[in-house]
Amino acid sequence: MTAQPKTLLTIITEGVLENSLVDDFKRLGVIGYTISEARGLGTHGLRTGNWRKDGNIRVDIVADSDQCARIVDQLRADYDRDYGLLMYSCPVDLHG
């Protein structure tokens, strides 16, 4: 079994930002991402997701650590002040 070492970056933010993020990813050269709807509680209050655009999204990206760092810097600069934004990353083994 061969595996490539990569970084998994997970972003949890407001659903209203989905289109903007997709544009950002394209500009930053992200090859692939997975977006799913998310619910939960954070410093921006309870996000129940039962109202259009009231919900959160969770974005998973597997990429090189440098690229993940660029994404984090960009998103922090653009959105962190005004929107709910949580980002974390961890090393992963990419199979296939």
């Binding site: 407001e14 209203v16 289109n19 903007s20 209050g45 309870l46 129940t48 997701g49 039962n50 109202w51 259009r52 655009k53 959105y79 002040r81 005004d82 929107y83």
Partner: protein, 317 residues
Amino acid sequence: MPFEPVVFFFVLGAAAGLLRSDLKIPSSIYEFLSIYLLLAIGLKGGVKLAEYPLGEIALVSLVVMAAAATIPLIAFPALRALGGLSRADAGSIAGHYGSVSVVTFSVAVAFLSKRAIPYEGYLIVFLVLLEMPALIIGVILAKYGSGGVRWGKMLHEVFFGKSILLLTGGLIIGLIAGPEGIKPLDALFFDLFKGMLALFLLEMGLVASTRIAELKNYGAFLLAFAVVMPLVAAVIGALTGTLLGLSVGGTLLLATLYASASYIAAPAAMRIAVPEANPALSIGAALGVTFPFNIFFGLPIYYWLAEFFHGLGASAT
């Protein structure tokens, strides 16, 4: 009975939310209901639109839009000076109140049909026309001089968001099909309308209940604003409708449109264009206070206003 029965479904939903019932409308059903309501309203308007000359409607539309533009311009200084709100919050809330609510309009249509009061069908066109200008005015008020507005994204959100898209699409389909062509769809889009509206109001009650609980944090000013602003706007609407020569039913609908505050399209657009504004303030006021106020107490008051101004107009001539 002074109330349209469908509004009790709102009360039921709100009660379920406040009592922490496990009632939840699945989001796909909510999506379906909102698509249905927007299309049904659009189709209904499109069928009736064919009965009026387009030139007349264009002229009336210009007056209606100009008069509606005064609403955010009144709301903004009131929010700033009396409420002491930040520029961003005042601009965002002014935009919400200048924009319109499809569901409030739907309840007003149900209110009229229950009493068999006729109205000009083309008023539904205003639902489309009035949604966007106030949002732009609100953004300009919030951001004037500070720059950095994502206009492209915001306008895309408003124009191609599902509410304008489906309303306009329904209008055009209704206009092309005409009353005869639309007949096969009558059973779905017109006969079932009130039942679907009732289900949607159940969900609205559930969502509003979460906002009602938050409202105590916002202070007395915003609560008062959420009741007084629709009344002021309704007077402007009733006057405009009467001066334009609309029927009593049409005047009531215009007053209701002016009085209503957007809580579906506006929050998403404002979140993009004025992200520093607190969305809980505007949605809390629009959905937690103004919407229930309008459907319970506003409609009978606006009906009275429409008759009052028409009475004045008749005695003056």
